[in-house]
């Protein structure tokens, strides 16, 4: 179900970046920029405007998706969405931080991000909590297959195997 091609997505990013007038409110509001001077949301948009392309440096994954920039942007540029889009492009390229691959694998096989350990199960029983109905993992598999997540996971594995 690849609804948008990467080119469409880049077009969309460019389009939504256009109203930006580089005031810097996003950067001034970004908690990540506060501790990581390498990550400036304004520059991410500026790059799109300046070069017309989307550079995937890996730094896009630093975005914590706190939405502060988007909330305050005086031109209503959807910065968080732009970063989500850039990350999707990276993911399609097989460039994904390993922790996210791990998370996606867990979801794929359990439907959850943190599968209950024996200890938690015991704890739930001790607390008198009910056993929660388990999601059908086949359904998750189907969604992964049909929405491209599986492809991306495979592509990452290939990228991993390739000698650098």
């Amino acid at each position: 179900m690849e609804r948008t091609t990467d080119a469409d997505r880049i077009n969309e990013i460019q389009h939504s970046a256009q109203p930006c007038f580089q005031c810097g409110i996003c950067a001034a509001s970004c908690p990540i920029f506060r501790v990581a001077p390498d990550f400036n949301p304004r520059m991410a948009v500026d790059e799109v405007l300046r070069t017309g392309t989307v550079a995937m440096t890996g730094r896009e994954w630093f975005c914590a998706y706190c939405l502060m920039c988007e909330e305050r942007c005086p031109m209503e540029v959807a910065l968080s969405e732009i970063l989500i889009d850039i990350k999707n492009l990276s993911a399609n390229d097989g460039k994904v931080p390993p922790s996210i691959i791990e998370m996606m694998d867990v979801i794929r096989f359990t439907g959850k991000v943190s599968h209950a350990s024996k200890r938690t199960e015991k704890k739930r029983r001790e607390l008198g909590l009910p056993e929660l109905p388990k999601p059908d993992v086949d359904e998750v598999q189907t969604i992964f297959e049909m929405t491209g997540a599986l492809d991306r996971l495979m592509r990452f594995r290939e990228a991993e195997v390739e000698p650098e």
Partner: protein
């Protein structure tokens, strides 16, 4: 009031005592909870960044489950609240996306129609039940100095989530005041706790947490109250990492709101919840277990 409880993976699988506190208080406010085979919401940053279509479809599946059961969703986690609300927003505002998603859902025998509402437990408590009703249920007011952290994903995007003012939130403050606490205004109140990048870059994540907690500590709080399990872990477990990493000496007990509400309501079994906390607040434990007469003296009703 009947809701499908969406505890979220973090609460159900890592912090079950928070779920316990929710299930403890619910009957007292006539909240009936049912459980459905939900998957992860899915997590709003990483999953959506990896594949936004997967994110949207899994979200739609969860929404469809509640729709089928004819109940609205009550989330306990800010991330789940944001993720499901955003999925719903995308599906409801973009018919083409909804169509695509329903094509996939059809394969697993489901359909998203757009009838379900997503609420955060804070909204249910603040809007549906109300401060007065909560105050009426408080048996043992807890008069400590608290810093509250509403959490990014309950606040933003404000025009979609519509839970509180994104720049100057006051509702969680009112809720903690309702149980007798003083809510301290502090710098960077709406700032992120850094959890969103914990898996990507620990230095950045805990750097953000350090900034946030430095600001919190300026007002000399006794406890922190949150309404999000991810933020809970950030503050509770994360402060020890920050102490190691940046040579800090934080020792701030952290509570999810319903835990401390359950304590203030004097509900049975609260000790078992509070004993799960890594940063213990001895005074609170004592308060719940033993010092009842003193409290009674302190409150006329």
């Amino acid at each position: 009031m009947r809701f499908a409880l969406f505890p979220g993976c973090t609460i159900s699988d890592r912090l079950p005592f928070i779920e316990k506190s929710i299930r403890m208080i619910a009957p007292h406010f006539n909240i009936e909870l049912i459980d459905l085979p939900f998957t992860c919401c899915p997590e709003p940053n990483s999953v959506r960044s990896f594949s936004d279509k997967t994110w949207l479809t899994m979200g739609a599946r969860n929404l469809a489950l509640a729709e089928e059961a004819g109940v609205n969703i009550m989330t306990a986690c800010a991330g789940c609240f944001e993720s499901l609300s955003m999925s719903k927003h995308v599906l409801d505002s973009k018919p083409s996306e909804k169509e695509e998603v329903n094509k996939v859902l059809k394969k697993i025998g489901k359909e998203y129609k757009g009838q379900v509402e997503v609420r955060h437990i804070q909204q249910v408590l603040y809007e549906d039940i109300g401060i007065e009703e909560i105050q009426r249920n408080v048996q043992y007011p807890i008069n400590y100095r608290a810093v509250i952290h509403p959490g990014c994903h309950t606040l933003r995007p404000q025009k979609i989530l519509n839970l509180d003012d994104a720049e100057a939130p006051m509702k969680l403050d009112e809720l903690v005041r309702a149980i007798g606490m003083e809510s301290l205004d502090y710098m960077d109140k709406v700032m992120c706790c850094g959890a969103g990048v914990r898996g990507i870059n620990r230095e950045i994540a805990f750097g953000v947490l350090r900034e946030k907690m430095d600001s919190m500590m300026m007002v000399d709080p006794e406890v922190a109250v949150v309404f999000c399990p991810t933020c809970f872990i950030s503050f509770e477990a994360g402060q020890k990492v920050v102490n190691r990493m940046f040579d800090k000496k934080y020792n701030l007990p952290v509570y999810y709101y319903t835990e401390i509400l359950a304590a203030a309501m004097g509900l049975e079994g609260v000790e078992s919840i509070l004993s799960e906390h890594r940063v213990k607040f001895s005074a609170l434990g004592m308060l719940v277990a033993k010092n009842e007469p003193e409290i009674e003296n302190a409150t006329p009703h």
